[in-house]
């Protein structure tokens, strides 16, 4: 019995995820460090994951051939929990009770040519939380998504487009849409810790993969659509944008090809954002604000508010923000052909404002990014 309980704890620490958090298909590390206030500022290789209409401000050829990001629970923020860690099952359970564990590994190579963009992606996210002292539940949400997303934005006006390094003055309204194909592997289940399903999955299993399969790990394919609009206004060295996007319209559902349990849907998210940027050639800054996911009723309105800031210097960029009430901060160093982004952020994993923080660290490396003026 103790062996089984021990194996389950190993499973908790080897996997990763948590319930209560709204899960987007992918998030930009830069965006997360800016408080996830990125809908109107998403001009990196994650544009299509925020608002396809934001492709409308691009007039360059941008290539992002190699990149990878890694995220995990920031245990440095809760060291007391891990000091003098106990050995008994009951004591371990008490110590990790209601502590959300998270890991993420992803990559999204892609390119943008003017208003057209395409990205490939592979992203693995896992969260585990053990909850309820009386009758413990193990909540497991694991997703491994891979596929592609492609989109196009049509613009009316050219305000805010960057041509030969300079902003074009004027107004612009861009309307965009994107299409994606996702192969999703994973599960989103809650198991009674001492129920037959979980204990039987562990008993006699030959390794982690078999435990996962027994618990209902499934594979499926699905198609999804996004749409959005963005308005931009530029004058002098100032660029103001506001955008609205609907991601995974009507939910992206998956047709199961393997396994026996339903795959978690990619739920629809409505997002609004605004950004104010000013560029002084050697120094620039941005202030951003987002409200998302607007359509998800059970998330507290205050938790939907996101504020971000970015300060850019030659070779260095600094990020900060408030992500639904939790601080985020980090930076990026760019020494071509390598760029490294790293930082910390907090995210709400309960459903009320400042209900439960998951403290996370994120690291990203990009290689051989290329921006070329098309005109």
């Amino acid at each position: 019995m103790m062996k089984s309980i021990g194996l389950i704890f190993i499973l908790i620490f080897c996997a990763s995820l948590e319930a209560g958090e709204f899960r987007y298909l992918m998030r930009s590390p830069r965006g997360l460090l800016m408080g996830d206030a990125f809908t109107a500022a998403a001009d990196d290789n994650y544009t299509l994951f925020y608002n396809p209409a934001a492709l409308g401000q691009n007039d360059e050829l941008q290539i992002y051939p190699l990149n990878g990001n890694f995220g995990l629970t920031n245990i440095l923020d809760d060291m007391d929990r891990f000091e003098n860690f106990p050995t008994g099952a009951t004591a371990i359970a008490s110590r990790v009770m209601d502590y959300p564990l998270y890991t993420n590994l992803g990559t999204t190579p892609g390119l943008k040519i003017g208003g057209f963009g395409i990205s490939l992606f592979a992203n693995s996210t896992a969260s585990v939380a053990l909850r309820n002292q009386t009758h413990p539940f193990l909540d497991i949400d694991y997703r491994y998504d891979r596929g592609f997303i492609m989109g196009y934005a049509h613009s009316f006006g050219s305000g805010g487009k960057r041509v030969k390094g300079r902003l074009t003055a004027g107004q612009r309204l861009s309307i965009g849409a994107s299409f994606k194909h996702i192969t999703r592997e994973g599960m989103d289940e809650s198991f009674s810790f001492f129920g037959p399903e979980l204990l039987n999955a562990v008993n006699g299993a030959e390794g982690y993969s078999e435990i996962r399969r027994r618990l209902g790990y499934s594979i499926g394919k699905g198609y999804g659509f996004d749409a959005g609009a963005e308005y931009g206004l530029a004058f002098s060295n100032v660029h103001v944008t506001t955008g609205f996007s609907v991601l995974d319209i009507g939910d992206t559902r998956f047709k199961r090809t393997e396994g026996f349990k339903k795959l978690p849907r990619q739920k629809m998210a409505m997002n609004w954002g605004a950004a104010f940027r000013q560029d002084f050639l050697l120094f620039d800054y941005s202030l951003t604000m987002d409200v998302h996911p607007i359509n998800v009723e059970h998330i507290d309105n205050m938790s939907k508010l996101h504020f971000g800031a970015e300060v850019g210097l030659p070779l260095l960029r600094f990020y900060g923000g408030i992500n639904g009430g939790y601080l985020s901060y980090g930076g990026k160093i760019r020494l071509w052909p390598v760029s490294i982004t790293a930082g910390f952020y907090g995210v709400e994993v309960g459903s009320r404002y400042k209900d439960q923080k998951s403290s996370r660290a994120i690291f990203m490396i990009e290689l051989f990014d290329i921006d070329v003026d098309m005109f």
Partner: protein
């Protein structure tokens, strides 16, 4: 440009004003309750779940609500598995339950720990929307929830019935607290009920004859029970039925739960399975002539209704089941 902006704004407002999603409200209540139960905030968890109304077809809601009442009752599954199960011994099938860490919580017949755990059990007995006055079985629930969720509910019922049986038998059984044997405590009684030796049994003849067989531990004579369960020929039906309902539900879910496990987590319980199932067969035989199948009564209301005119079958049940399995 202005008309485009107006259209854009109208679409946004339309999309934002979508109605509330009830499932998300319930899921949120379940998450909140489980978080509260992580901190042992039992009453807040109960309030959170009761506020969204009883969801009789939602397996996770029902288990979480039951666990909230179980929390208030002092129940803890980790303790049960790691500290309590090892007390179970083959030689005294139900006696080991009295040595569980929570068994001395009950200090009166209406003690809140016992009552709250019965509320938790009642939520699961009737999972699926069954009437509390009908004798619902594991099979009935599985017909609604399926084997995976039904099995989950059964396992939780089994664990909680063991805890409340431990309390019930310890409170009424005058136990020796060192080894859990009946009649070894400070009080003078050696039986649970105050039996009438003349009560008829189908195969044993009478209760008196049954007590003389030497298979009922210290309980060997009539009228030697706990007066809080009633006097001779005047059994407190309500309290006696509490024991019947607990044991019958335990016996109802036991085979399905044990058969579903592939590991040895429940080895201690498996070790007493044969004795329990034999006693169940025996009580059915003993009451066959009276046309009463007490071993299948899983509802308090049904048990009390069955005992409204005579309580002889309760004596037969207790002497065949409890006095034989709890030595």
């Amino acid at each position: 440009m202005k008309s485009k902006l107006l259209t854009f704004s109208a679409i946004i407002l339309l999309l934002i004003s979508c109605g509330a999603q009830e499932d998300e409200v319930i899921d949120d209540a379940i998450l909140q309750a489980n978080r509260l139960l992580s901190r042992n905030e039992c009453q807040s968890a109960i309030n959170t779940l009761e506020a969204v109304g009883r969801q009789t077809a939602n397996h996770k809601y029902l288990i979480t609500l039951a666990s909230a009442y179980a929390c208030r009752a002092g129940y803890n599954e980790l303790t049960l598995f790691t500290d309590d199960f090892p007390n179970i011994v083959v030689a005294n099938a139900l006696g080991g339950f009295t040595l569980f860490s929570t068994s001395d919580d009950m200090t009166s017949p209406t003690h809140s720990s016992f009552a709250d755990l019965n509320i938790a059990l009642g939520i699961l007995y009737t999972a699926g929307g069954f009437d509390a006055s009908s004798s619902v079985t594991s099979e009935n629930r599985r017909a609604i929830f399926g084997n995976a969720q039904g099995g989950d509910i059964d396992a939780f019922i089994m664990y909680m019935t063991m805890v409340n049986l431990g309390r019930f038998l310890r409170y009424y059984g005058n136990i020796n607290t060192a080894d859990g044997t009946k009649g070894g405590g400070a009080a003078t009684h050696d039986c649970l009920l105050n039996y009438d030796a003349a009560t008829v049994m189908a195969t044993s003849g009478t209760v008196g004859a049954r007590l003389g067989l030497g298979t009922t531990g210290a309980c060997v004579i009539e009228d030697d029970g706990n007066d809080e369960l009633g006097l001779k020929n005047s059994i407190d039906v309500s309290r006696a039925c509490q024991g019947v309902v607990l044991l019958n539900n335990f016996l109802d879910v036991l085979p399905a739960v044990l058969d579903a496990y592939t590991g040895n987590e429940l080895a201690e319980i498996d070790s007493i399975r044969t004795a329990l199932e034999t006693a169940k067969t025996n009580v059915t035989s003993e009451l066959a002539a009276a046309g009463i199948d007490m071993a299948t009564v899983t509802s308090q209301a049904a048990c009390e209704a069955l005992s409204s005119t005579t309580d002889d079958h309760l004596e037969v049940y207790y002497v065949t089941m409890f006095e034989t399995l709890f030595l």
